[in-house]
Amino acid sequence: MVNIVDRRLNPKDKSLANRQRFIRRAKRQILDAVRDVSAKRKVTEVGHGEEQIRIPSDGLQEPSFRKDRDTGTRRHVVPGNKEYHAGDRIPRPDGGGGGRGSGGSPDGEGEDEFQFTVSRDEFLDLFFENLELPELARTQLSKVEQQGIQRAGFSVTGSPASLNLTRTMRNSLSRRLALRRPKREEILALDREIDRLERTGKDPEGLRELIRQREALTRRSRLIPYIDPIDLRFNRFVPVPRPISQAVMFCLMDVSGSMTEDMKDLAKRFFMLLYLFLERRYRHVDIVFIRHTHIAQEVDEETFFYSRETGGTLVSPALREMERVVRERYSPAEWNIYAAQASDGDNTPADNPAVVQMLEEVILPVCRYFAYIEVAEERGWESASDLWEVYEQLVAAGHPMAMRKVKKRADIFPVFQDLFTPAELRA
């Protein structure tokens, strides 16, 4: 007797453990590939859905002793001879003969690239491995609460707006059935019968009896109301504290003439990482782009990265613009606010006191974290920029703020990692 077993309900993803091992192994290549892919995307598009990536296969080969295809002699026996005779000489076909004969490795080895799909979660996990929101922000994070309301069953009292019709009508129906409230159709049928008898005038005895019945039914249905206060049910809500699960990220960038395209590209990469990182933490992430020269303006992403402006450089207007947006749209009680500023460090010296004041009094108190990235080209000499000096004092004063210098593309990820690696892991 044959056994027939249904294995379809067996746990799926039997190969998950193997996949994890593979991803760990290919980590470096995957990261490189993903970084290339992400450079072409919009900030908010990065890491959405599955990424199809190609990675170079070094470190992923499974070598074995095998014979070189380009030495010695081989014989191939193939079907489909049309015109050849023994002794004919034919030119060697291109491309190694289209896999003729015994050659051609079955497992696709020898390819220099390996193509496959990583899921969004796998990608983000790799990308942000070991990264955490900074200690400071995290403790605040756990405290941040919002009063939410949550359904909590039903109650017999409540406001009319929260009346639960289904429940109420169910109660009403069962009460009416139990107490035998006369149905409307019954009364109507009786009415018709009475009407008929009255018109024909035949059976006065029966008519009287019917009228009596009719009165009894009417009385009964008046005594037993269609909906009684006892039937009413209301949805009950209780207030619950709920951590805020939405964040807004402000991208501030100096777009004055001194910022080159390269510098903007660096800044874009940083913003992108920050966005991805926040998105992994919060259910909903808004993003606000504010560009500034000597005036500041909230713009869309396209304009932010790709349009050129000329003008002087003042930082405080950007901060003021940010403050305006926060005030209008993002109440700090409901949103976790993050800010990332990218600049080449220029600021009109006269503006510095205003910047410090804005940051200390308005911006930093509402921000979870303020990251400042100074994108600088190699200048050959190291001198602190105007902003750098100003911000250094703020950091020293213990504000939730971090600052790093970035010079080339390859610096971005390390700097990011550095900013968000918990202190205990940093050693």
Binding site: N10, R25, G72, T73, R75, V78, K82, R89, I90, R100
Partner: protein, 518 residues
């Protein structure tokens, strides 16, 4: 009307949908034909229904239902999954495991006709072959392979916990690189008993622990023991069991620096490799046997009115796809289809048994016209492997039908030469060349451990005996040698020599181990 009713009653199923009752009914009907009529002798079967996702899972770990974990399986899964999702490849209709009972996976997406076909193919065709072929009898132990794999999986994951996943990965990487050189090619007396292997493993370890005594290490050496009494090293080589072509076996037994668990992992990989060795040598026969069996059974089911004309047509469609062989200049050509070749030869044998021509009588005096195709098949299935099967049974008529021809590809010549075609003077040569194509010994490089420099730097010396002037591919070879050196713990050299003239053709000098694996 009545006859119509009767024929309906005999039908196993009508629609495309399957359920357990129908599958069981069809299995029983197939069994009656396969065992009672054809006299096949398969293992008892266990039919398991799986989803396409599980099929992909099974693909990635060599088709086995349970296997130890390694990143390379994840890599294969990632690629297979992508190819499948893009629609570039379909999935196999079935997977069958050489075990007792024979595990036979069928996919839920298949129609009832496909399930019937698959069961006939796997549970009777493959299973008969596994149970009766000499190679499998001598080399694999169907009774305990699943238990052994279970042991292997647990052992490897225990090692990962104890010594770290990274360490285990290094050993497995190295072992996999040597996997094709981890088989004994010549059978021993008795078939291996994997259950006993496991017990012996435990005993070995207990014995080592019990007899361990640190004091032996402190004994001073006697002076005369150091003297070199063996200038040629013959005795040394003999005592090490050299030359040895099973590289994994050699390392497991002799590598000086490996820890016990590392040897055990090498052993696991070696046992798995050995288990698959017969399958590698019988692709054509195995698929030919299964295809022939399902073809016979489905025809018989149709003849006896147990399946409808519609499902028979569906079967023929699937069958034709399976045995399709594009010609060499076709875009779809990717080598010879083992299903087509095996099925073709076996059908041709049937013709020779039943209606031989004079040519057939001349070429196959042993069985031409014996009117016992089934018996002839069974003998072939039991006694041959691909190489000998083709050498023995490929007929001139078949070569003409396939228009087979043999091409000589000399790397030093920028043109190919047609050596022989399907004509009177070429039959034997074409046949010999095709058979050689399926000879693993010609296919895989012949590499042996020939010596160990025990008195010097403990260098391990390998030798590749070059066949047809075909050297090893350099990049791969260097990577494998690095793995080998890591396992051995000391430098490894490889020389490539011409077996006839003993000339040195190429040499890889002293590949050093990474010190990581100390």
């Amino acid at each position: 009307m009545i006859s119509h009713f009767e024929s309906d009653a005999r039908l196993l199923y009508t629609g495309p949908d399957w359920d357990y009752r129908l599958v069981r009914k069809a299995f029983d009907a197939i069994e009656r034909i396969a065992v009672d009529e054809m006299g096949l002798n398969p293992y008892p079967s266990q039919v398991e229904v799986i989803s396409s996702e599980q099929m992909l899972d099974a693909y990635s770990s060599m088709g086995m239902p349970l296997f130890y974990r390694h990143w390379s399986f994840g890599k294969h899964f990632a690629r297979d999954e992508m190819l499948y999702r893009k629609g570039m490849t379909g999935l196999a209709y079935e997977i069958v495991i050489n075990s007792n009972p024979c595990l036979c996976y069928i996919m839920e997406e298949n129609t009832m006709t496909m399930q019937t076909l698959v069961m006939a193919h796997a549970a009777f065709g493959h299973s008969h072959f596994f149970r009766n072929n000499q190679l499998f009898k001598a080399w694999t132990d169907a009774d305990s392979i699943l238990d052994y794999l279970d042991f292997a999986k647990r052992y490897v994951s225990e090692c990962e916990e104890r010594y770290g996943a990274g360490e285990v990965e290094k050993i497995l990487d190295a072992a996999h690189a040597l996997m094709s050189h981890g088989v004994h090619r010549y059978p021993r007396r008795q078939p291996m008993n994997l259950k006993r292997e496991m017990e012996r493993e435990r005993e070995r370890r207990r014995f080592e622990e019990q007899t361990f005594s640190d004091i032996w290490r402190t004994l001073p050496k006697r002076a005369d023991e150091d003297g070199d009494e063996d200038p040629n090293g013959d005795a040394r080589r003999r005592s090490l069991g050299l030359p040895e072509e099973n590289l994994l076996y050699f390392l497991e037994k002799r590598a000086p620096k490996l820890a016990h668990w590392q040897r055990e992992i090498l052993r696991i990989v070696r046992v798995v490799s050995q288990y698959f060795y017969p399958q590698k040598q019988t692709k054509v026969m195995n698929e030919g046997c299964a295809t022939t069996v399902h073809y016979a059974i489905m025809n018989r089911l149709h003849e006896t009115g147990q399946i409808t004309d519609g499902s028979f047509m569906e079967f023929l469609h699937a069958h034709t796809n399976v045995v399709f062989q594009p010609e060499f200049d076709d875009r779809r050509f990717s080598g010879i289809n083992p299903y087509a070749l095996g099925f073709g030869i076996l059908q041709d044998m049937k013709r020779i048994c039943e209606k031989p021509t004079d040519e057939d009588r001349r070429w196959f005096p042993d069985f031409a016209g014996n009117q016992d195709a089934l018996g002839t098949w069974k003998t072939a299935w039991a006694e041959y492997r691909d190489e000998s099967f083709i050498l023995q049974f490929l007929s001139p008529r078949m070569m003409r039908e396939w228009r087979l021809f043999s091409v000589l590809d000399d790397a030093d010549d920028d043109e190919l030469e047609v050596e022989a075609i399907h004509d009177e003077s070429g039959y034997r040569e074409v046949r010999r060349a095709l058979a050689a194509q399926y000879d693993l010994a010609r296919h895989e490089p012949d590499i042996q451990v020939v010596d160990v420099d025990l008195t010097g730097d403990r260098r391990l010396i390998l030798e590749h005996r070059v066949l047809d002037g075909r050297l090893l591919e350099e990049r791969n070879t260097l990577m494998v040698l690095r793995h080998l050196a890591n396992l051995w713990g000391y430098p490894v050299s490889l020389v490539e020599v011409d077996p006839r003239s003993e000339d040195l053709l190429n040499a890889y000098e002293d590949v050093e181990p990474d010190l990581r694996l100390a």
